[in-house]
Every structure is written in C-alpha cells, then in structure tokens.
C-alpha cells in the first residue's frame, strides 16, 4: 500500500483525454497536487492508502472547467442593465457605472463574488480582463482558484492608468510579481482593436513574445465594429491585426461573430485561438460565431461566459448547453457540435488557448489535479445513459459537489472552503444599494 494525499472514487470518470475515455467505477490518485494514478477503484483500494479518501459513488469525476473569457468584478453589475443593444448598454450604462464605482475595493468584492460563483459551478480556471488586475490576482491566490490575469491596455485614461505606457508598465509589474507562481499566470489584454492604437498593439505584441504569454483581445464582436473600422481605418480589424503580426498561437480572439471564409482559413493557418461566448453574443444580439466552420477549419475554439453584466451568469454548464443548441439551430443540423466536442471546448481547448495544456484541461497522468465531481442523483439528472451527453444537455451547476485545484479541495460537499459566502453576500448587497441609486 502506497501512501498518497488523496483518492477520489467515482461512478463515472470523464477524462477528456485524447481518446475521450470514459471509465466506470474508477479512481484518481492525487499526490503533491498532481494526478499520479488513474485506475479501477477496486484496484485503487488495495494499492493506495490516502490521507483523504473521497467516496463519490453516484458522481461524475471530470476535469475542472476553464472559462476562457471573464471580467470577474462585473459580477457586481449583474442585471444592472438588460434588454439593451451592445453600444447603448456599454456607453450609457456600463461605462458610466464603471467610471463612477470601480475601485480596488469594488474589484476585490466583485472578483470574490465571481470566484465563489465559478467554484460552485465547477470552474477551476478563468481568463480575465479588467482594471486593478493586481487585486484580482490577490483574490485568486487567496481563494485558491487558478487564473490567467489580463494585463489590460486601453488608449485612453481610466482610473487604472493614464497612458498606454502606464498600462503597459503596470502590466509588466504584475507579470513580474507572478512569473514564478504555480497557479497565477498572465496574458496581455488590449481591450479591442477600436480602443487600442497600432503603436500600442505592436508594442504589446513584442512584449507578449518576450514574456512568452498570450494576447487576449475582443475581436469582431459586432457588425458595427466592422463598419466603424472601415470608416476609421479603411479595413477590417482582423486584417489590421494580421498586418501588425498579432495572428499566432498566442492570440486569444474573443467573440468573432463576423468572419469571412478567408479569415477563418488565415486564422487556422496561424493557429489562433477563438473564444465563443454564446450567451453574451445572443443577449447583446451581436451575432453568431461560426463555431462549426472554425472547428472544421482546424481553429482551436474554447468557451467563455463573458462578464456577468452580459450573460448574466458565470455558469459554464449553462454555456455548454447553449453552445450546442445554438450551433444546431444556426446550421439547421442537429448532428453538429456534438456533446464530446462541446465538453472539449470547456476544458482542454480552454487550456490550449491559455498555453496551459500541459498542466490542465484533462485527467491525465502528471497533470495538475484540477478536478470536479457532480452528483447525478438530482431529479433533473436521472437516469444516466451517456455521461458526456448528460454533462452538456442535462447537468446543472447545482450538481457540482466538490472542486479541487492543484489537489487542494476548495468546494467540499457544496461548501466553499476558502470563501465566506455570507460575507460576500453582505458586501454585494451594500454595493448594489449604492450603485442602484
């Protein structure tokens, strides 16, 4: 009998490994934060003596979900302005609210509310873009979640910085602070082509190469963006990023509802990553990201919720179902974007986009133990014929019972271990009372 940190026994093990293996009555062994064995439970029980033995006999055990696009502090704006088009929503509601309320305290309280929601719904890693990202990084460290912290850049002054150079130097400082962190990494996050100049984008591109981190940007979100770009620059934003050398395996392009066949092929040839945010694109009536065509062209497509003000949740289980349903009705073909592909978008494809595929995104030997379990005995989850299909079409975030990040348990039988939800509720209540005046 070998001594190990933890043993998780499950009814179904959904690995999302390269063969999409699903095993029954299997266990995962965790030692020093990593997955050290994957084997039948009967064998595990005679091979290992674990300090923590988790028996989850009516549960699915799977990789933690990866949210490829968030603005976590915006959880405090959840439901502030609904049923409005993007431009009006952004310029008349969200930007004025941000200008008035965003502060380090706002960012801390909003990020922690968001992290609580993400952990409770099975998300173990998020790719963020917001002001005061140093505060978001500290909240991530404190709560134990894995995060890619966006180093935001805008051409105009905000409460976070006055000039592009100041945004960039603050970003470099945050990168340096976390460069040897196990769970926190960074990505450049120039907001969008229409809010960042060529000069700044070129500088960021060079810095992304030097620091070997991704470049996370909103791109081709709406038709309006393309039309405005033609007026302002004479061409499409995608071509502009191409000419600036931004298209590459480090590019995380979010939304992408407006794409030509040529752009999809150029994107595939350059190994760019696309993040699909179906709820946000639908709610703001931005359009349809051509997910099926992108995947067929060989582009890596992952899933994001976007911020809470345009979704209005950070629940990747809801987002998986929505992605599958939207693709089918958009293509008028029920076979497209089948469940195993959708599950990959919310796990391993997210890991690839973030440059973390060697560490997370699937249950494989040697990877970090970022894992979740789901109880399959909820009324809305029974019976189970095919666990993968179930995870996409029937599963609710409320079935998530346990969450581990790097082998540490952060949610245990539905209870958050590192976050005081009552304290967060009180803070959210105080913020909403101020903001709604």
């Amino acid at each position: 009998m070998q001594n190990v940190d933890s043993l998780i026994q499950a009814r179904w093990l959904v690995t999302v490994d390269p063969q999409d293996n699903v095993f029954e009555n299997y266990s995962v062994v965790i030692d020093n934060g990593k997955i050290t064995d994957i084997l039948p439970t009967a064998k595990a029980l005679i091979s290992y003596k674990a300090n923590n033995n988790y028996q989850r006999h009516s549960h699915v055990l799977m990789p933690g979900l990866i949210n490829s696009h968030t603005h976590t502090p915006m959880s405090l704006f959840r439901g502030l302005a609904d049923d409005l088009p993007l431009h009006e929503w952004l310029t008349r509601h969200i930007w004025p609210a941000e200008q008035k309320w965003v502060s380090p305290e706002f960012v801390k309280d909003g990020a922690e509310l968001a992290i609580a929601e993400m952990l409770k719904s099975g998300t173990t890693c998020f790719n963020d873009m917001y002001f005061y990202s140093d505060v978001i990084a500290r909240s991530s460290v404190k709560t134990g979640i894995r995060a890619v912290i966006g180093l935001i850049v805008l051409e105009f002054p905000t409460i976070w910085a006055q000039t592009p150079d100041e945004y960039i130097s603050k970003g470099v400082a945050i990168h340096d602070e976390y460069k040897s962190s196990a769970r926190i990494s960074t990505a450049w996050a120039p907001h969008a082509p229409y809010t960042v100049s060529d000069k700044s984008l070129a500088k960021i591109r060079t810095l992304a190469d030097e620091l070997e981190i991704p470049l996370h940007i909103h791109l081709h979100e709406t038709r309006q963006e393309i039309e405005d770009a033609f007026k302002d620059t004479g061409g499409r934003p995608f071509a502009r990023l191409d000419s600036l050398g931004l298209l590459g395996p480090g590019l995380i392009a979010v939304h992408m509802t407006q794409l030509t066949t040529d752009e999809m092929q150029i994107g595939a040839a350059n190994n760019i990553n696309v993040v699909h945010c179906p709820a946000s694109n639908m709610k703001l009536a931005s359009g349809f990201c051509p997910v099926v065509e992108l995947l067929d062209a060989g582009v890596n497509v992952s899933l994001g919720t976007d911020g809470c003000a345009s979704n209005n949740n950070l629940d990747l289980f809801g987002e998986m179902k929505l992605a599958a349903l939207l693709a089918k009705v958009h293509m008028l073909d029920a076979k497209v974007l089948a469940a195993p592909q959708v599950l990959r978008m919310a796990t391993i494809n997210g890991a690839k986009a973030l440059g973390l595929e060697s560490k997370i995104g699937s249950i494989e030997l040697g990877k970090e133990a970022d894992l979740i379990t789901l109880d399959m005995t909820e009324a809305g989850a029974m019976p189970v014929y095919n666990p993968v299909s179930h995870l996409v079409y029937s599963t609710s975030h409320s079935q998530v019972t346990d969450v581990w990040v790097a082998g540490k348990i952060l949610l245990k039988q539905h209870e958050l271990m590192t976050i005081d939800l009552a304290e967060i509720a009180e803070k959210a209540y105080v913020w909403s009372n101020k903001i709604s005046i």
Copy 2:
C-alpha cells in the same frame, strides 16, 4: 387579527398581474387554497394570525411556472439519443424505445420523476401529451401538482389503443373521471397533422367544443413536415386545420417554427395559442419559432420544455433565459422579448392557453395559491437590481426553495413533501439498466 391558513412573507413579490406589479417586503395570505390578501408584510403581521407562517426574507415570491408542453414519462429516456435530427431521432430511437418499453409502470415511474423535477424547479402546472394518461393523472393527484392531461389520439395502433375510436373513447372516459377535479383538467391531444386523419380531427374538434376543453397538437415543427404535407395533402397543415375548423381560442399549437405572415395573422384573428419550445427546436435543429412577430400580431405565446428526450430538462428557468436570448440573436435586436414578456410566457400566458387564466398564472386576489419562492442569496444570483430581469437572466432552478399548489406546500426548503426522491432514483436506475441494453 384574522385566522388564516398561511402567510408567506417575501423580500420581493413579483405578481405578473396586468400591471406587472413588483412589491418589496410584501406578503401573500392563503386561505382555503386561495389567495385572499396581498399586502405589505408590516401590515400583514398585525392583521393576520396564520397557522403556517413562512418567512422568506431574502426571497422572491412569484406565481408557479406553467409548462405548456410536456411528455412527462419520457424523463426515463433523458439522454438516450442525442445529437440527432428529429426524423432519425424519432423513428430510429424514440419510437422503437417506446414500442419496447412503454407500460403503465413505465409511465407512472417516468411521470413521477418528471413531477419531482418540475416541482423542484418551480413548475406548478403542466400540459401533457402521452400514452396511459390515466396513470399520469393519478400520479398528479398523488403528488399534488396541477395538470392538464392530454387525451392522446393517433391514427395507428399503439399499446394504448388500436383505432382512433378507441383512443377517443378512452379519452372521454378519462375526461369524465376528472371533470369535477379541482387540480386535474383535460385537453384533446391529437399528436400531429401527419399522424391523425381529417375524420378523426373533425370528430375531436366537435368533442372539444362539447366538453369545453382545449385541443393540444404539434404543428409546423419542421420544414420537413410542411414539405411532406404538400406531397401528401397538397397544402400546408395550418390551412388543413383551418379548413377543419380547428383554429380557435381552444387550439394549443406547439412548436410552429414554419409560419408565413398570413398564417400569423390568421392565427391572431382566430385567437389561437402557440407554445414555444426553444430548447427542443434548437436541439433537433427544427428552426426558429417567430415569437416576436407572433406576439406583435397579438397571438398568445407561452413556453414549454417538450419531453426530456429532446431538451434534456424540464426546467422553465433555463427555458425562459433561452427564449429571451434566442429571440434577440435571431432578430439581431437586443431589445426584443424583454424579461417581463418572457416571464408572462412562462406564467399567465400558459394559464390562458390552458383556459385556466381565471384560476392561475398570476398573484391576484381570489386566484388559486399556486406559488413559489426563490432564494436570491446564491452566489450566481447576487446582487439584485431588478427581480424580474433576474428571474429570466440569472436565476437557476436550484434557487427554488418552496412550492405551493392550491395552498398546499409540496416543496419545503428544497425538500419534496409528497415524493420520495430516493425511491424514484432507484426506479430510474433500474429502468435505465433495462433500456440501455
């Protein structure tokens, strides 16, 4: 102080009355199963002495949701065959499975699993269509939910009946058994234009008038249905139903993804009811029901989940969000189908479709006390700016804490009072083991 059965105190009272009133710190008084007062909690506490005093101080209190289209026993086929187009799904998977497995026991166990899921997700009334509807009626009586039991008719023999006349005589018998029931009513349920003859439809139409009950039918679900109808009958099914005199305020037409402007206007002029099932239409790639145009034309549109095999849930909170998001991206207009309208589709519009608007669908004096409460302190539900918008865009079924039907509590602090969920889980497990072989 007046003695009454129950007093429910809530932080927010969402009435769905004709003025869409939302009140804060309000209470609802229940006596003899009916809503007898609606007033500020401060006043309620000095006016009434209640046998049951429910304090739900961080909750929304609202009308129970109405699911306008279900096939409840199909919960046992949840996830049996996914990622398939309607025709292949129906003819190669669902119909063979039904032929092999449907029995009174199957229907009882499936209906009770479905009722458990519906109660736990805040649904207090459903409009069903399936075989052995006598069994479904008995399960509804036993569990306390409100139901409109579909009297199914098909032209071909099944395990339930051999001839159209036998289907009809069985339907009349079930209608007679429940005609004085407080919570169970009936509707004729000819399956679809392509599975029922003109002669049978004409007979059902006469009987619906005589018995004063609605007529519930799948209509214009797919483009294929229209094309096949042209081949078989030389015209569109809608025109055929019109010529048979079926278009009227008793018609509950489900799906309706294929409609001309003329058909929408004729439907409006005849006061027909349309049931929108967004998840099912998306998952089976059936198409887009023109909800916004129908509502603009004055047609009553309500919401349904369809059966569990094509959704794969019976969760109307998910369905509300989906309906709103789908309409916005389909019309490329973020303002359409705003939250208050969507909430009406899942409540009062459902009541209208079922001919029950004088009894249920809103919180108004004299109506039946079909009510639900939702806890707004879940991580994914905070903060609350606008409770109606929250119910559509952020709320999860897991927030439903309590459910009353006709004043009787059926779910209390998340616990089912009339259903043994562990027993149902065991039965679902046994069925799935048989069915998946």
